[in-house]
Symmetry: C2
Subunit: 224 residues, 2 copies
DNA sequence: AGAATGCTTCGATGGAGACCTAACTATGCG
DNA sequence: CGCATAGTTAGGTCTCCATCGAAGCATTCT
């Protein structure tokens, strides 16, 4: 009988299908209301509410009350990372070795991970930013390079603010198995991509699909 | 109701206290028998056996039968990584914000992760090996440098063999939050450390404590 | 104020699964 | 061969918890 952090408690929170569906939905990054999550999980509203209490108590979620709406979101990047790790194992181990459909292909190319971009495009982007010394990488620690401020402000992203959350952070990509960029900068870049309409979110999926024009623009800015 | 990899299934496997204890014990890296795991989990042998079947079916464990002994081990580094990720969240979220005791301190300095060394020492080692170009690091991909073969064979480690498992692999360290070295090379180095008696495993813990002499030797070889 | 919406709490029900004892199979030893 | 050890299977009990309908709060709209 071993002591230590209560890993079973955390895992069992994720271990219920309804809760897992909710967490999965929240991996999309946008905070959702209880009713949306109930729909997502395929359970009634009271059931969902009960699950959400448990996830809150377990510290996996954050709650933002706005008027009569209550928005639930993932508690942080660490939680998102854990979900991706579990997803990775489930993928590898899953008996559903079916041929990956088109949506799976799109997921591999680009998808949302919590609040930033993941997938091949995201990994390529980080590689390129590091190669150009816009970002400086030292293992899993990523810092801004000397030209970062001017480079990002030129495209309308301010990297000056110092929030609690780190600006840059490496996040292991479960499909590519290499890191992509997380942190506030990663989130800002995803914002940029979506607000410029370079790409759009696939409905009911974490996949992100670039338009032909958007892909060119993205590559010009980030993969040049 | 969302489709995809069955993350709830995997998580619920880890979500039972008995199974979590077993997996935790296996994070020590050595494969254990059913009875040892039963003891570790604090359940009867039949109960343990039932749990082990489920873990096997879930693909989290591998089984090596030797005579009347059946040795269970973690299925691979990916599974170990998942456990560490969950442990990280449990640590961060856990209500047990007690002041870290001496054992926790030791864990932070050096511990076993599945079959290789983790903790501050391990992170420092990887940094140094990369800085000396003995290993070449490109994101989470690590390759052998030109001088690797001669350097490691000089200390009795053969990096020539080409097993299925990669020789080098980055594994995210949950205490330091940066990568340390996994893969067959990481395993071989841990073997070396233990067989040379530079350090010993703490009883009933994943902590690894260096002897004064061993620490010097380790630093001379790997942190020079 | 009254109605409508969003969500939580209550109470009851049902099913899944964790657990143990006991019986059974398999391997090794003398 | 016969006993001992390691492990799995079978059968049965019991607890936990996911679920839903109905009722209760809270906030906003009219």
């Amino acid at each position: 009988m071993r002591e230590g952090p209560d890993i079973a408690r955390i895992a069992s929170l994720v271990g219920d299908p309804a809760r897992a569906n909710m967490l999965n939905a929240l991996m999309g990054g946008t905070a959702l209301t209880a009713s949306e999550l109930a729909l997502e999980a395929g359970v009634s509203l009271p059931t969902a509410s009960s699950h959400l209490s448990k996830l809150m108590e377990g510290g996996l979620l954050t709650l933002a009350s706005q008027g009569r709406h209550r928005y639930y979101g993932l508690a942080g990047p660490q939680v998102a990372g854990m979900i991706e790790a579990i997803t990775g194992v489930a993928e590898a181990v899953g008996p559903k070795r079916v041929r990956p459909g088109p949506r799976d292909g799109a997921m591999r190319v680009a998808r949302v991970c919590y609040d930033h971009l993941a997938g091949e495009q995201a990994v390529a982007m980080l590689d390129r930013l590091v190669a150009r010394d816009i970002l400086l990488r030292d293992d899993n620690e990523i810092r801004l390079g000397p030209s970062a401020a001017s480079h990002f402000s030129a495209i309308g992203i301010d990297v000056g603010a110092k929030p609690r959350r780190p600006v840059c952070r490496a996040c292991l990509d479960w499909s590519v198995r290499r890191s992509h960029l997380a942190g506030t900068l990663g989130a800002a870049i995803l914002d940029k991509i979506l607000s410029e309409k370079w790409a759009r979110r696939e409905k009911d999926s974490r996949a992100v699909v670039f338009s032909p024009v958007g892909k060119v623009a993205f590559e010009r800015v980030f993969l040049a």
